[in-house]
């Protein structure tokens, strides 16, 4: 039986049921958050650490959660910030002469299943070629089917800007696939 957000919030707000609440929250959102983080970071171990950190931050800052936004929106915001922080750390650790886009595309190739469809691999590589904001908008809209209004709360951008970003992202990905898949 799927637990509702209201029940999770009630459990988390009561100190006696806090642990039960955080378990319920993890059960409800771990998969969605993990794949969101994984598509940004690509590396499996780092994505796992980031997911853990996301739940710990959510627990520590639960008093700041306001009921005027959706629980998953708030969790996506934490997860996105954590993932971007990890990406920035990775970029700093990288050699200066190495192209970050090339590095991420290689990471995609290293982390995919051996039986993955080629078109899917190209899609992931195409996503990694996008600028950061377009990448985030595209992933949350394309994979998680989040409404623009909710994405707007997560990445602090207007709905109009988000729509434009999504349009450009999609266009770039299609071009990338056409160019590379034919070869």
């Amino acid at each position: 039986m799927k637990i509702k957000d209201a029940e999770i919030i009630a459990l988390m707000q009561n100190p006696r049921t806090l642990e039960k609440g955080i378990r319920a929250l993890m059960d409800a959102y771990q998969s969605r958050l993990y794949w969101h983080i994984r598509r940004i970071i690509v590396d499996g171990d780092l994505a796992q650490d980031t997911l853990q950190e996301t739940f710990i931050k959510a627990y520590q800052n639960f008093h700041q959660f306001k009921n005027d936004s959706q629980l998953y929106t708030w969790l996506y915001r934490i997860a996105t910030n954590e993932a971007l922080q990890q990406i920035n750390k990775l970029k700093k650790m990288q050699k200066t002469d190495e192209d970050p886009e090339y590095y991420m595309q290689n990471l995609v190739a290293d982390n995919t299943h051996s039986d993955a469809e080629e078109i899917q691999v190209f899609l992931q590589k195409a996503i990694q070629s996008l600028p950061e904001k377009q990448k985030l908008v595209f992933m949350m809209r394309y994979y998680d089917d989040l409404p623009y209004e909710e994405i707007s709360k997560i990445v602090d951008m207007s709905v109009g800007t988000l729509k434009t970003n999504y349009h450009y992202a999609k266009q770039k990905i299609e071009e990338y696939i056409k160019e590379n898949y034919e070869k």
Binding site: I22, M26, G44, F55, T112, H113, E174, I177, K178
Partner: protein
């Protein structure tokens, strides 16, 4: 047909082919790519995932939260810190003031003690006065008038003739003079001392020697 050799048979495709079949295939493939629609593509997660990923994540999170519970992070609230430092300042000032007050009390006690010592000094002075009075009495006894009044009294006091002390002077009493004084007093009989006491106005002091 007895001499039929398969190897000598010409390789031929005898099936019918539609016209421009290969051209049309190529066109179709290329057009499909050109009409590639991302929205029609299946959403798949193609990355490798470790076994028991979510169980491990949950365990680690719960473990870390329990550790944090045991050692809670103290976040400094500047408002409380300011209030605490003010309380400390005022508290220490209060303690300091009360301490200095007690010091004042000590000083007054010391003053009191010193006054007491002054009182002691006064008694000492009184004692010295007594001695000097006694000396003066002795000297008076040595005067002619007293000799006339006390004709019947043998002037044993003449023994220390050498000490023809001047009657009016009160000198600080040394141990030597004290010894002389006690010798002198010993030389008096009880009746003589009683008579001297009757003649003296300072009975209180003389009582000390009775």
């Amino acid at each position: 047909m007895k001499d039929f050799d398969l190897e000598k048979l010409e390789r031929k495709n005898i099936y019918k082919l539609p016209e421009n079949m290969f051209e049309s295939i190529q066109e179709r493939v290329l057009s499909e790519m050109n009409d590639f629609d991302l929205e029609k593509l299946e959403r798949k997660n193609i990355y490798k995932v470790s076994d028991h990923l979510f169980e491990n994540v949950q365990e680690n999170v719960i473990m870390q939260l329990n550790v944090n519970k045991k050692a809670p992070i103290f976040k400094l609230n500047w408002g409380y810190a300011a209030a605490a430092s003010l309380a400390l300042i005022f508290g220490s000032a209060f303690v300091y003031n009360s301490f200095s007050d007690s010091n004042d009390d000590n000083t007054s006690v010391k003053n009191y003690a010193s006054n007491n010592s002054d009182q002691k000094k006064e008694s000492e002075v009184a004692y010295e006065t007594l001695k000097s009075d006694l000396t003066s009495v002795e000297n008076n006894n040595q005067t002619i008038d007293n000799q006339q009044k006390n004709q019947q009294i043998k002037t044993v006091a003449y023994v220390p003739e050498k000490t023809e002390a001047k009657p009016q002077t009160v000198k600080p009493v040394s141990k030597k003079t004290e010894a002389q004084m006690s010798e002198y007093l010993d030389s008096f009989s009880n009746s003589e001392i009683a008579e001297l006491a009757n003649n003296s106005t300072q009975d209180v002091y003389l009582d000390l020697y009775n």
